[in-house]
Symmetry: D2
């Protein structure tokens, strides 16, 4: 019988300088719900969205993996169980996008757009929280990326991501 | 006296399946104008935007470099002077973005978004042609990425790109 | 107080076609001893040395991380706890080398040489088991890589690797 | 009729700190002979072996491409015609190995071993000059890597590399 892997979900979003207070709250709730669903959280392991999502996951007893943009393991935030240092700098984004069965996009900017586009290219399901691209909007607050499924809150995002991941596995 | 490098400009945009007829025409004109300005054209070396931009550059006697997503050099389009095969698949996008002094974005989709976001992360100047994100618009035709400077036509895009590249070098 | 990370040790060596029966036995013992020392085992997650090292680690209740050369998580061997699929092919070797605090080299060939050289470049301590380069010897059975510390058996290799990892952390 | 690409040959070997005076002389002669044979020289674009090989190629009117380990194009040595900056650090080694139809290994150390092993993994023909691994020998001066074809001088190395490249293309 082949090993049954748990579902891995990557949470992407801005670091401290590229997110919003609401984005950080969403990150923590998304992380917590991922853990409650017994999925594994993957992210870039550093600050901002990455730290709050991992904090949420640990608050519910989950497991967290951080794929770092540096060779220094101690750069991981304290909520990362398994920190994977890399010498790739921001090119590690491709690893965050490809490590998981589904990706949830929270407020962020170019790094988040980079990870989201890597997931879309690879055919990995992405769920964006409404407003994930707050940092990319025009002066009338309009948003785009209409091809990406959007969820209205953390609970819906995690439920959608798990469903899409399951469909893809069975695919 | 240090070697004086020419200006390198990367042209990004969809392959045959992710561009538009207008995008292909723009690609050829942008490529031609890059060569006329004695800049070197860099792109992903394959079809669609990549082929037409290289064709335009060669029509004006320019030099073209293609960084391929495959290890097979013969996958390069016939207008590429120097084809660099890689084993990185679409991760070679980061090389296309980082090889140049400025990036011009033509109509495309996720691969183009991926390259554009890599350039923005790296601080490499990007000029997008109005409508580059035609494939990413919503049902009301609205566009975003307002932080990226937009040009209204090929001539303006190449002029802006060269100016931004020069400013960055002197910076 | 900063998070205290456990010691990560990467075990490198040939897949099924590039190892030896003795190499596979060593892999299992090395994996077991890594787990007994409460270190985390990292490797490429696939077959041969990678599978037997992970099997050994799991026999002692350890934790195993596999960084795969494919985007298919189910390609991981059944002893991998956390499988990280990547789109990098053999370029993932650099991740295996850089993820750990020390590297143990078991019998292998060019892939193993590649990972070993990445570790040496990065300044990550490497311990080679005598004969790790059996597949690379000349007709008189002579070995090289004299700059790499060699251990005579699995127990010595793991002890040396842990000591070198600790020295590097304190360094 | 498909485009007929010239033969690309990568020359690998130590930077200033990881080569020998003889290695530098060999580099210059190898570069010159590559250009005389109307092949394109590819290397890492920086100092030591890379600079001398490019100097040799330019002395015979050849074309040189350097794939840099840095995002700063001006880090290229002055004999590089086309400098490709990358954000990959030493991971760009894989690009040097895979860009060419054959690889010639000159005296070097871990970086050279890394590039050589990438070429061997990818099935790209490698020719090593006797003594390429001088920096890796034991105290009795013994060498290894017997699976790699060795040439006794620069002329033989370039002739062998071109033959192997042609065979592979026809293969």
């Amino acid at each position: 019988m082949p090993k049954q892997h748990p579902i891995y979900i990557s949470v992407i979003g801005g670091d401290r300088d590229h997110t919003t207070p609401q984005g950080l709250e969403l990150a923590e709730e998304v992380g917590r719900r991922i853990a409650e669903a017994e999925c594994i959280l993957v992210n870039g392991g550093m600050g901002g969205t990455m730290e709050r999502a991992a904090k949420g996951a640990k608050s519910a007893g989950g497991t967290t993996i951080g794929i770092l943009s540096t060779t220094d393991r101690t750069a991981a935030n304290p909520y990362i169980d398994f920190a994977i240092p890399t010498p790739l700098g921001f090119v590690r984004n491709v690893l965050v996008a490809n490590a998981s069965d589904a990706v949830i996009a929270l407020p962020g900017k170019w790094g988040t757009t980079n990870e989201l586009s890597f997931a879309m290219i690879a055919g990995i399901p992405v769920v964006a929280i409404e407003g994930w691209d707050a940092k990319l909007r025009d002066d009338q607050g309009r948003s785009r990326f209409t091809e990406v499924p959007h969820a209205s809150d953390a609970a819906e995002a995690v439920a959608m991501a798990i469903n899409l991941a399951k469909q893809r596995r069975e695919g």
